[in-house]
């Protein structure tokens, strides 16, 4: 049982914790606020915090200038596509490892994780050339393939740690009840693992949404997701803070919201189940 804590101490901790929390969150807050300012107010000195003329103008300018919605839909397709495809490949693999473990299961898992250690830049050129020659450069399908592959080890690992906690007897019961392998996975394993699968899904959507090596190097115009949309604001051109802020807010808002809702489930997933 936690002991009663003196109110004074609790107040002190509250102040410190909020101060630190706001400090860490401040860059995001500031970006969101700036996105509602005019360009002039955005660089005004002294900076105005809340008392300025709120405007939505930047958002429409950004949409017109850089076509936010096209990049947004690319991001959605690429991150959801690669995650779902990854799950489709990883669920059977994780089933095998968790429920029919062999002598080499652990080695296979370690090997899979070690492919994550492969620096992407080490294979940038071949992938770039292969994509150029097969017409996959700057296509969404190409990016879905690459992101599926780079996230596959993480998906398999995460699912493995969740599956491992499901008692094998329940799957055996299904087998005794006449379920074929397919039914066993679809009707018994998957529904039981829904929380684990959901957090795997969320984490991988977040990782894919924010992935900024392959998305920057393999896209130009057609398939460019939000990471590239933002990168186009990297060279300054006159007054652009408010527009940059609006674009940034639009790029991070969807994932920030998903992330906040799922933060509890994320911890386990993020650590491959090593911390609960």
């Amino acid at each position: 049982m936690a002991r009663a804590v003196s109110t004074r101490r609790k107040a002190l901790v509250t102040i410190c914790a909020w101060a630190v929390g706001i400090a860490i969150f401040f860059p995001i807050l500031w970006t969101v606020l700036t996105s509602f300012k005019t360009e002039a107010e955005a660089i005004a000195s002294p900076p105005s915090f809340l008392f300025f003329d709120w405007t939505l103008e930047n958002y429409s300018t950004v949409q017109e200038r850089s076509d936010y919605f096209r990049h947004f839909s690319n991001s959605v397709i690429i991150s959801f596509g690669s995650t779902l495809l990854g799950l489709l490949i990883a669920i059977p693999a994780a089933w095998s490892m968790a429920f029919v473990p062999g002598k080499r299961t652990k080695d296979v898992l370690m090997w899979m994780l070690s492919t994550k250690m492969l620096p992407p830049v080490g294979v940038l050129i071949p992938i770039y050339l292969l994509f150029r020659d097969t017409g996959l450069l700057d296509t969404r399908i190409g990016l879905v393939m690459v992101l599926t592959l780079i996230n596959l080890p993480i998906i398999v690992w995460m699912l493995f740690t969740y599956f491992r906690e499901i008692p094998g007897e329940i799957l055996e019961a299904a087998r005794m009840d006449g379920a074929e392998l397919w039914s066993e996975i679809v009707y018994v394993l998957t529904p039981m693992a829904v929380p684990g699968i959901a957090s795997t899904l969320l984490l991988n959507i977040i990782l894919s949404w924010n992935e900024a090596f392959w998305t920057l190097n393999l896209t130009a115009v057609d398939a460019a997701p939000l990471t590239a949309f933002i990168a186009s604001y990297s060279s300054p051109e006159g007054l652009f803070y408010a527009k940059l802020s609006a674009a940034s807010t639009m790029a991070i808002a969807p994932i920030l919201i998903i992330g906040w809702f799922s933060q509890k489930q994320l911890v386990r997933g993020l650590t491959f189940g090593a911390v609960k």
Partner: protein, 334 residues
């Protein structure tokens, strides 16, 4: 139908042979109990019959057909697991209906069978709950319900009562026995508890280290245990064993006397000892008597009224026709 024959089956995990070659015949409608100490291979044997593990050699026949290579789903057997293995995401109704759904039986027929099973098992009021909302005994009944609906050739139970408290265990024991009376389907029941074996079985199979020590009805095992292991395992409290001069007198390496076959007296008797602990249960009194030349205290079961205390000198006399004699191979001397 539910006749199962095991012919020279063995099972090894890696280099370790858990089941040496083993033969067993289980007749249709029999209630067979596999009993033996923990780790002796009871579960393994049951899982071989279920098809959840492959035999390393030998074959398994179910109703005259070779089932050695048949996957578990196709053997027509139903199993109740120690952990119950209910599907936590399905309601009780769906749990019980699952085997029917897998068999592709239409919805109306499913509902009828589920309702019938629920009635037999007193689960009608709980059909829409999840397993997590049930008590241990209810979960157990759901697991049995799931097994009943598919009308299997035989039921397999793996220590189904070990997660229940003592009172509930007695109840469920009776319920399972009644179920067997009414269904008359073959049941194979695994337990390490010899009381369950004695009370439920038509036929007991005593296992040790994967070997069958004896097969027989409960009373056969009680009266004529084939060897010292069976003698010691069946019966509660355990049979007393004496060696040395005590046994020489009967031309045996070891003799065994059950606690209920010893009479105790203050004045005279065959053997003398000193009371260590006495346990008064009301109906019975168990005396643990230390005797010179015997390592373990001798257990005596006598009437509830007897009033010996720690340190009292007592005289014990075995019923002459109830002495079991064993040779130096621990085998029974007829």
């Amino acid at each position: 139908m539910g006749q199962i024959t095991l012919n020279q089956i063995t099972k090894s995990f890696g280099d370790v042979q858990v089941i040496p070659p083993l033969d067993l015949q289980i007749d249709d409608g029999e209630f067979v109990v596999f009993v033996g100490p923990s780790g002796c291979g009871k579960s393994t044997l049951l899982r071989l019959i279920a098809g959840l593990e492959d035999v390393s050699s030998g074959d398994i026949t179910i109703d005259g057909k070779n089932a050695t290579e048949v996957p578990p789903a196709k053997r027509g057997l139903a199993m109740v697991f120690q952990s119950y293995a209910l599907y936590p995401h399905m309601s009780v109704r769906k749990n019980i209906a699952f085997p029917l759904r897998m068999a592709g039986i239409d919805k109306a027929a499913q509902d009828a069978k589920v309702a019938a099973a629920a009635k037999v098992l007193n689960l009608t009021d709980y059909l829409d709950r999840r397993p997590g909302q049930l008590s241990g005994g209810q979960r157990q009944r759901v697991a049995i319900g799931r097994a009943i609906v598919r009308e299997p050739a035989a039921f397999l139970f793996d220590e189904p009562l070990s997660n229940l408290d003592a009172a509930l265990r007695v109840n469920m024991r009776l319920e399972i026995s009644e179920l067997h009376q009414s269904l008359k389907t073959t049941m194979i029941y695994v337990t390490h508890d010899q009381v369950e074996a004695m009370t439920m079985a038509d036929k007991i199979v005593v296992l040790q280290a994967g070997r069958i020590e004896q097969v027989g009805s409960p009373l056969e095992l009680y009266h004529t245990p084939r060897n010292k292991f069976v003698a010691g395992f069946i019966g509660s409290p355990k049979m007393n064993f004496l060696t040395g001069s005590f046994a020489d007198e009967f031309d045996a390496a070891t003799i065994g006397v059950r606690p209920e076959h010893l009479t105790v007296s203050q004045s005279d008797g065959k053997w003398v000892g000193k009371v260590g602990v006495s346990e008064h249960l009301g109906s019975d009194t168990f005396l643990y008597v230390d005797m010179d030349g015997v390592d373990e205290p001798i257990t005596v079961r006598s009437s509830g009224e007897i009033g010996f205390r720690h340190g009292d000198i007592v005289h014990l006399t075995p019923a002459p026709d109830k002495i079991h004699r064993f040779d130096n191979q621990d085998l029974r001397i007829a």
